[in-house]
Amino acid sequence: MSINLETLRKSPTYSVTAAVSDIVKDLRELATLDRASEAKQTEFGNLVTKCVVGAITSIVIAFILMIVVGEMGDGFQLFGNILTILLLCVGVGCTIVAIYAGIRESKYSRFNFPNHRYALTEKILEMLERDMDKEAKVSVHLVLSPANQDSKRIKTVKHPLKSGFKIDFFQDDWLKMEGQFLDKTRFVLTTSELNQTAYGWKTSRSGKSKYKTKSKAKRLDISLNLTYPQRRYGAIKVLNNEAVNAVKIPKLTNVKRMRVTDKGINLVVKMSPSMPWNQEALYQTITMMFLSVYQVLNLARMLSKAK
């Protein structure tokens, strides 16, 4: 078991080299943890809302009472004052609970990982396992922190159109998976997500300044690298120029690079932001990349027999 709460709290990254079945177990545990923290987050979030409403209501009523009590007769004043103090106490109590709940909420929010990342990893592993030795070890490096986290900023530029605005670019290489198939082919699968955030002070017509920030997705690159035994697939060189025509990938994705040699293939596919980067789209694209590459390799195998 590699899921360690403390480590994940410090840096939300899951990194392991193990058999697929063990990794899948871990990822399921991570999913359970994530679901539980999502529930807790909602629970504390609701508590914050309730307490803030309670605090404001009791303090407002206390103030009204203070004013009203001043104009009342002596007999009512004592009772009125006690009631005011009680209400103020309730208000302070609610505020304290709200702060506590807020802290708990933000603590749980750290465990709220993007669900599609670990769910996708599990699905891909189960797909690749079909052609792997049961005992074979796979390396997985899965980053679960937000894509626009400060540490992922790669550069900042001036906004080309809006003066006073800047754009931050973020690169999130959130998945790297490495392993070996039964045909002794080694695979390395990586994803790299590019996002940008534009921000700056905007002056409205009335002369008021307002801070504006806008994030958007740029592109998602998926790279598949295969290194295979020459003896088995070496004749692939005759297919070099035509290999790219065997590639089938979903609409709204493009082949960014394809390099074929008698030792390996590198296929890089670019997903445009007009495509949802969800689990289904990613799984489909990655599966099609593996099938495309093996459509070439399986033919190369037929041409690679010795005399």
């Binding site: 797909m127 052609d131 599966t287 041409l303 010795a306």
Partner: protein, 217 residues
């Protein structure tokens, strides 16, 4: 000969992948198709559509090859989109009969058998997702194909890449596939040799190929 046909029922959208022993008759009316041909029991497949003749086509073996013969149907039988009265069939070929698009499954006809455990006591099925290999299990337990004898366990993933593993006419790589027996690879030198067809080989040896052949032998 055992074959596996695969199609999606146009009405129910269900995938059918029966393993069949030739001869195989295809038609709309069960009773209109022959029960026996040359003493062999006929597997009769009913395709429910007005555009399919009562007895539409027959798949059988002639001279060791698989053939399909149209039974003078009015809508015809299309083999890989070409209407032909009869044609030989190879792995991956597509038959169009009325609204039915039927594929001759690649791994099944020669390499897979329905009796999973062969004479050697090991499973003879070809298994694997990206590349095929002999199962070799001594029991059916854990074999994805044995658990789904009539179905492809990876059907949904394969549906992303239509024609996966098919290099026939009209598919990517068909010109290499057709000549696959003429290619040789020398892992020592990294050279790929291509042997011309027999009637060409004499001429070939006269010129540039001469040296290459010497080097490889």
């Amino acid at each position: 000969m055992q074959i596996q046909l695969s199609w999606i029922d146009p009405v129910t959208s269900e995938r059918r992948e029966p393993l069949l022993e030739t001869p195989v008759a295809l038609g709309r009316e069960f009773a209109s198709m022959p029960q026996e041909i040359d003493g062999n029991r006929v597997a009769r497949i009913v395709l429910a559509s007005e555009r399919v003749a009562e007895y539409h086509a027959l798949i059988d073996v002639a001279n060791g090859e698989l053939i399909v013969v149209d039974q003078n149907s009015s809508t015809g039988t299309l083999i890989n989109s070409v209407r032909l009265p009869s044609s030989t069939l190879i792995d991956g070929d597509r038959l169009q009969i009325g609204p039915y698009e039927i594929q001759l499954n690649p791994s099944s006809s020669q390499t897979t058998s329905s009796s999973e455990i062969g004479a050697s006591g090991e499973c003879d099925r070809m298994v694997g997702f990206l590349f095929k290999r002999r199962c070799g299990r001594t029991t059916n337990i854990g074999c994805p194909y044995c658990s789904y004898p009539d179905n492809n366990p990876y059907y949904y993933d394969y549906s992303y890449y239509s024609g996966y593993g098919n290099y026939n006419r009209g598919y990517w790589g068909s010109n290499y596939y057709d000549n696959r027996d003429r290619y040789y690879y020398d892992p020592e030198t990294g050279n790929v040799d291509f042997t011309e067809a027999d009637n060409m080989s004499l001429e070939g040896e006269m010129d540039a190929d001469f040296e290459m052949d010497m080097g490889a032998s």
